[in-house]
Symmetry: C2
Subunit: 643 residues, 2 copies
């Protein structure tokens, strides 16, 4: 099969998958078990195999036949999608649907009965001749809609027993049922599309990185050493008493070591592990597009990643246009109250302190007199119109309805002098019908207003107000993050905002030794539609700087990373990289509400495989080679459920 042919096939396939099979099936006669002969005995019959049929028993796929094939003797394999009026079997495979004409003549009664009695989702192989459908019976909704295959032979390959749900896109299944019978759920056209898009996307990424830009695809171990403080790392007992491997959260150390090893450009689709217990919509294992490059800088990585997304972007999802906008962490927090702003819509945070300089309102005065105190607002367009339906969880927030008659309507506004009121309206750019939400306090109130901004967008869209274009993809780089943050439980100590290997911004490097809390890091996040889909940094490549960060700033024991420090002292080049969250990126591209919809066999919310019932109990005997035993909490007994 030539490259050109494949490209054609792929576009055909897509076109078919994006259109769900429409007609409602009718139930067919009572299921009857048909004995089936081995299909391998039929291989001789498919010797005229076209490209599609290569390596298989079929000559063509079910989405492939056109009027160009009229008169050809073909062999199709697939699933019985439905049987219509004892006249037609609609046969489905990965590529589409073909209508099979059931012969009606007396001499073919056995064949007719076999086909009519087939339970839905049974697997058959049909041989027959391609014919043009009678005029007026074409189906423009499917690509094979001009032809049908006149069956002259059928082999029943497998009879389908009663299924827990029908394979129809319009049949709504519970999440639990979908997970338990994942192999049926994956037959839906949406899931077929998602998995095939995933495969296509990563192939394009590989082409871009390996074929066009000299990256080396290197596999790194997943049985590794526990990271100091790696509370979220799964442990794997080894055969040596007390010794454990750890499943790494990312190949961070390995990718840096590969740069020290002179690999120059490393890339891997890396399986990563994170034990986050019961956090919703997190998977214990996930995949990241892991990239590292030597002799580069922030701009170099940004260029590379923008090119990568542009090259691999699915064409049916529009175009990606680099360069992406760049925003500092400070700007993001100031304007959006969050470090991953959804820039598909405005409603930015506005500092309206100026309108309240002389306010007599007690709590506003107090807020303004705090160190770093301010009054912030967002203006929700048409929010007043919809506000009777909007039930905010932040009910303690003062809000102002800017009535359709141009007057402010709230208890608060009555306390404002006219001049302040006008200034306020001007500052937030309010139009009649808008809703203004205010917070007063320190910087820390911004994230609250930021969350409220997103909630307003959701609520407005829930009332059919158009806020965000669902087909738009807004990329954004966020840069200049603080390198260290105060620890939550002991704020006088610092911890890494991301990880201890991030290099400081060059201008701030000297502050590492005097005022580390003021240092900005060379970290960058890639944000898409308000979700963080990637993050990376230029790394520290000087052993002494790395030792200082670990030892003095973070007060960690550097001996735990002695191999990395030694490596930095052995001729480490300047280097940096990024990791893109593949699952999340794909979920956004296909518009899925959960990353589970772009993973073939995901775990449930609680980390369970509902199909095989993993994780499961393991006998004491099976644990013995690993020198571990279970410590049963009170109220639980070995092998049992909750008491």
């Amino acid at each position: 099969m030539s490259c050109k042919y494949t490209a054609l096939l792929q576009s055909v396939l897509l076109a078919t998958l994006r259109r769900p099979p429409t007609p409602r099936p009718r139930a067919c006669g009572a299921a009857r078990r048909t004995s089936f002969s081995r299909c391998s005995s039929l291989r001789a019959g498919s010797s005229s195999a076209a490209a599609h049929g290569r390596f298989t028993l079929r000559t063509h796929s079910c989405g492939e036949l056109r009027t160009a094939h009229l008169g050809e003797e073909v062999t199709l394999c697939g699933w019985v999608q439905y049987v219509r009026q004892d006249l037609f079997v609609i046969l489905r495979d990965f590529s589409g649907l073909t209508q099979i004409l059931i012969p009606q003549d007396e001499s073919r009664l056995v064949l007719k009965k076999t086909l009519c009695d087939l339970p839905l989702e049974s697997v058959i192989m049909v041989r027959g001749k391609v014919r043009r459908r009678p005029e007026g019976q074409e189906n423009k909704a499917i690509l094979t809609g001009e032809i049908e295959v006149h069956a002259n032979n059928v082999e029943v390959l497998n009879i389908c027993q009663k299924l827990p749900f029908e394979i129809k896109d319009f049949v709504k299944k519970s999440e639990g049922l979908r997970m338990q019978y994942r192999y049926l759920d994956l037959r839906s056209s949406q899931m077929q599309y998602n998995l095939r898009l995933r495969s296509r996307l990563v192939m394009k990424m590989r082409e871009y990185l390996c074929n066009l830009h000299g990256f080396v695809d290197v596999e790194t171990p997943t049985l590794f050493k526990r990271t100091p403080g790696g509370a979220k790392e799964f442990v794997v007992p080894s055969g040596e008493p007390g010794r454990f491997y750890s499943l790494p959260q990312s190949p961070q150390q390995f990718k840096q070591l590969l740069m020290v090893a002179g690999i120059d450009r490393y890339f891997q689709l890396a399986r990563c592990y994170r034990d986050e217990g019961s956090k919703p919509d997190r998977q214990p294992e996930f995949t990241q597009v892991d990239i590292e490059m030597s002799f580069t800088d922030q701009a170099g990585i940004r260029d590379l990643v923008e090119g990568l997304l542009q090259y691999s972007w699915p064409e049916e999802k529009g175009f990606v246009s680099p360069p992406f906008p760049v925003m500092t962490y400070e700007e993001a927090m100031r304007d959006y109250g969050v470090d991953k702003p959804d820039t598909r819509f405005e409603m930015k945070l506005v500092d309206i302190s100026g309108a309240f300089h002389n306010t007599q309102i007690q709590f506003l005065r107090e807020a303004l007199h705090q160190p770093g105190g301010s009054i912030q607002a967002i203006c929700v367009p048409q929010g007043a119109v919809s506000s009777t339906h909007m039930h905010f969880s932040f009910s303690h927030l003062p809000s102002d309805n800017f009535g359709a008659d141009g007057t402010l309507k709230s208890p608060l506004s009555r306390l404002l002098p006219d001049v302040s009121r006008q200034q306020l309206l001007q500052m937030v750019g309010a139009e009649p019908g808008d809703l203004i939400l205010l917070t007063a306090g320190t910087e820390g109130r911004r994230p609250l207003l930021g969350r409220l901004r997103l909630q307003c967008a959701d609520l407005l869209e829930g009332h059919s107000v158009k806020v965000r274009d669902p087909s738009a993809f807004h990329f954004l780089w966020v840069v200049d993050f603080p390198l260290f943050l105060p620890k939550e439980d002991s704020p006088e100590q610092l911890e890494s905002a991301h990880h201890p290997f991030t290099a400081p911004v060059p201008e701030d490097a000297h502050l590492l030794y005097s005022q580390p809390h003021k240092v900005r890091g060379q970290h960058y996040d890639l944000v898409l539609n308000g979700s963080e889909i990637g993050g990376g940094s230029i790394r520290i490549h000087s052993a002494s700087e790395q030792r200082h960060v670990l030892d003095t700033v973070l007060q960690e024991d550097p001996s735990l990373l002695s191999h990395l420090l030694e490596a930095l002292d052995s001729g480490a080049p300047p280097h940096g990289g990024i990791a893109l969250g593949l699952d999340r990126l794909l979920a956004i591209i296909v518009g899925a509400s959960s990353i589970r919809d772009v993973i073939a066999f995901p775990k449930s919310f609680r980390g369970h495989d509902l199909m095989s019932h993993a994780p499961d109990f393991v006998s004491e005997e099976d644990l013995r080679p690993y020198h571990i035993k279970v410590t049963w909490p009170e109220g639980l007994t070995p092998g049992g459920e909750d008491q």
Copy 2:
């Protein structure tokens, strides 16, 4: 960078990497720490970046410059390979070497001193002009040998401290040292070649499978449920008391479920896990090229895999010519005494029972009168000549030197009548100077002779007798394996020869219900130069047949695989697949003695990461969330080594 350009770059790169840098370095002056400024400040200087320099601070790589670049101002980044006579720095990166000319004029003394004082393996960025080397000073051994770069600026990016070994191909390092400082070991041209070849090979495999043949790259979970009897599976404790995930030995169940899900053609480079304790040259994690296809048969899979290897084979390693020969298990055992014959040389096993029909020699008579008894031989060409040097561990084997004078020389031959002796020589096709090795007994003696055959080849090659062509690649399919074998510890019970999902050969299917031990399976192994590099099968797709195999033949509890049985009952297509051992395949291609040489960060023989010291001790506190504790064997204490 265009596709064409990249192809060129890759071939250049290869040509360089295959030729180890030859000249011996001279030690340079005392190491001096040079302060270095941040490289990002120099980005402006490399704005004329050519394709090679894209995203990076350099304009060209160290293997790239030719006379076509004469006069150009370039920026190179790399490692100091050596300094010669205070005149030249040889700079190395992933792509090759460039000679940097050190300016000698008075005004550039600082630059000269900086360069001359650099410890080897320090990392620098050099700017300078490309010049033609003076006549007679060209170095034809390297591709940049006609030019040199006249340095006018250097930036020291990182000073290298004293290394545990030199980065020279001719410097022999102990295995332990190589593993402990893997990031240095990977700088060798052989390891750079191995990792880059691996990346290139898998990219070609992906192109063939995904782009040319419609395979879908699907990632399957590695946190799964323990397989019944999965003694070699690592366990991973979950946060729920007593419940464990398991790291799968292969995605076998998932690939079959994907066929039930209608994916039609699945492919994955799958990470697999096997806890084999201290078995030599096994890695606890390894990678397989995992393939499954619906509506296919053995011939279909063989075609596919032959095409795959042909397409992805590195061109510098010759050509792969399908179709590969096919041999039955029975033929392999009969002719080679092993199920993975090395067909690069003859020395086949010959049944010479016929020559001994009337023998008076007691032990031969007894052997022939056993049920299934026979006398087998191999003839080692020129073995008699070398035999004084050959110390067989099988010293109890009778052997015969066929002397250069054409007479048999051994105690045994004296007991043979003339006619038997002639018959024997004729049967094994012996020439003067050959060595004949015999075994007498049941079928079970064949593997012994098979091992001896390989040992003879090794011994002969140790004495410079050419037996196998080291550049030859002999592929072979072995088919028609028995489906079940008697259990070693209770031979009246059967166990699967490979796994319980293998379908029987159609002609033998009826025997499943009467004489299962006689059934041949639709299993196939792919053998390369005597190593098994892949194995697969056509699977059982009938739930009732699968249930019978599990339940009646193997006497296992089918409820442990209930999800798979349910799936087979839900419209499972006929399907089959294969898994290729990527690490082993690559080791054979590059001629490495261990798969550790084609893995970036392998574990030691004992499963240790000698660089990071994994597996390592984990505190009781860190184990608490997983509800496990260590059961210390007597003589060991928590956190300690052997007492």
